[in-house]
């Protein structure tokens, strides 16, 4: 199966190089002295079975992602009753999340960071296990229960706001800005979805951010300056592969500038924003397409059914409905 793409060859090379960059990132854990794997030689000519192998590889990748999704979903589902019970006991529903386990610091004022949640807000900000928090948003921690004081101060913090955290690391003060998050299930609660059973953490929806349906095989790349020049945008997230079935009217090569005014700064950020919408909700997308800035109004599709595997071929996309509401004159 020969793949076609609307991007130019060099931009594809750039994307491939980006992929190699990610692999390089994983090599950080590799001991020095271990030679990196040799680069695969370019194929001299297409083999007759390339199409079959491509299809097999794509099918295997989809199975792998499905298995991973099942692991994630089951793990969250089985822990949900315990977490809900605990949240109810602690009286902490809907609060902003730091992603830290704290305890009193022995022999010193402050709350010692016992664990940092992997990928959590504090981890992203650079806080490490072993740091001692001595102040939060300018309020110094004092007294015999500094960990409790942190939790009390966090009660007044709204999700998605920034929290200034001063820690002692190796005895020296360091300041971090943590962008706190909402807990799983918060968005549906905040959006007031009707007809849903509300537990302490929110409605009993598919757990957390997990998204299936047309978005499952959507692919995004954080825009670099080089990519930005080519696609006519200096910020945003590039849609390498649009959602299946023409969902949300996105196309390969679009650059998402904003989703209801929120500007995605990375693929993960865009995923998080999109996942905050419930099926059927309306949203406005500001995008760059073929160097023109457009506003799209779209409806969040259902998350249920899995998309059929589709080749990475723009020609295979269904015809795009007429949804462009406004075309800006600021062609870039």
């Amino acid at each position: 199966m020969k793949q076609t793409h609307s991007f130019s060859p060099w931009i594809l090379c750039t994307l491939v190089a980006l992929g190699s960059g990610a692999a390089t990132g994983t090599h950080a854990a590799q001991p020095q002295g271990t030679p990196p794997p040799a680069a695969p030689p370019p194929p001299a000519a297409a083999r007759p079975d390339d199409g079959d192998l491509d299809a097999q590889l794509a099918a295997a990748r989809i199975k792998l992602e499905e298995a991973a999704h099942e692991v994630a979903e089951l793990s969250v589902q089985m822990g949900r009753p315990l977490i809900e019970k605990f949240a109810a006991l602690a009286g902490e529903p809907g609060r902003a999340i730091l992603g830290l386990q704290l305890e009193g610091a022995a022999g010193a004022a402050g709350a010692r960071v016992r664990e940092v949640s992997p990928g959590g807000p504090a981890a992203e900000a650079g806080i490490h296990a072993g740091d001692v928090i001595v102040a939060l948003n300018g309020t110094a921690l004092a007294g015999e229960q500094p960990a409790r004081q942190v939790m009390d101060l966090m009660r007044d913090v709204k999700p998605d706001s920034k929290v200034n955290v001063r820690v002692l690391r190796d005895g020296k003060p360091r300041d971090f800005t943590v962008t706190v998050r909402s807990g799983p299930g918060y968005f549906a609660r905040a959006h007031g979805m009707p007809d849903l059973e509300l537990g302490p953490l929110g409605p009993l929806l598919p757990p957390g951010l997990m998204m299936r349906g047309p978005f499952m095989d959507m692919e995004l790349v954080t825009l670099t300056p080089q990519l930005g020049r080519y696609f006519g945008a200096d910020k945003g997230v590039l849609v390498v592969r649009a959602p299946a079935k023409g969902a949300m009217q996105l196309e390969d090569g679009d650059v998402i500038l904003a989703i209801d005014g929120r500007q995605p700064v990375s693929g993960s950020h865009a995923t998080r924003i999109l996942a905050s919408y419930q099926p059927g909700e309306k949203l406005n997308l500001r995008i760059v397409r073929e160097h023109k800035t457009l506003e799209l109004q779209a409806t969040m599709p259902a998350r249920g059914a899995l998309p059929e595997h589709r080749p990475h071929d723009a020609a295979a996309l269904p015809e795009r409905p007429e949804v462009i509401l406004q075309q800006h004159s600021d062609e870039t």
Binding site: L15, V16, G19, G21, A23, T26, A28, Q30, P31, Q32, G33, A38, L53, L57, A60, R61, K63, L64, E65, A67, V71, A72, L74, M78, G79, L82, K85, F86, L89, R95, I97, G99, L100, Q101, E103, V116, P118, G119, G120, E124, R148, R181, P184, L201, G208, L209, M210, M211, M216, D217, E219, L220, V221, T222, V240, G267, S268, A270, T271, A275
Partner: protein, 179 residues
Amino acid sequence: MHNESDPEGDVARALAALPADDARPYDWHEFQRRRARAVPARRVIGAGALAAAVLALAGVAVWVRVDQQRAANLMTAVTHADDAGGAPSWQATAAAGEPRAAERWLASLPGEPAIVRVGTRADVLGLEDHIAQVDDLLSAAGTGRAQAVHLIALQRQRARLVSSLEQVRYAETLADESR
């Protein structure tokens, strides 16, 4: 490779001397060795490796289902725990899970793949959010009068979530590498 911050190679030697357990999950070096060996027939082996990973993850999913019963039993214990008990012990609760090697591996990964697949990324972000929520609940519970049995149950749930995050990120990395 010359490294100005480690001219004598002390850090490199220390890294090389780490026990194999630190290379979890699924022995990353073995994964890299196999990948290098697979270069001449990358696509064929790539599909095979993905299929093997699917089987491994499917096995994990089955294990998770079996473990649901254990979790239910633990929930029952939590529900019926009496109000007696002293201050919770972090040492005891920490023994409920041992995710440190997994967390070191997770910390060594880039924040996200170069090309983000939204479906798998949403799974990763969902797990990360749940772990963060559990950690904050543990902080809140640890400063209150929570019973040790509750904290142990929550720590076990955290360990399970970290393990699942490890699996899902590995699948994400493997899929990214197979492109």
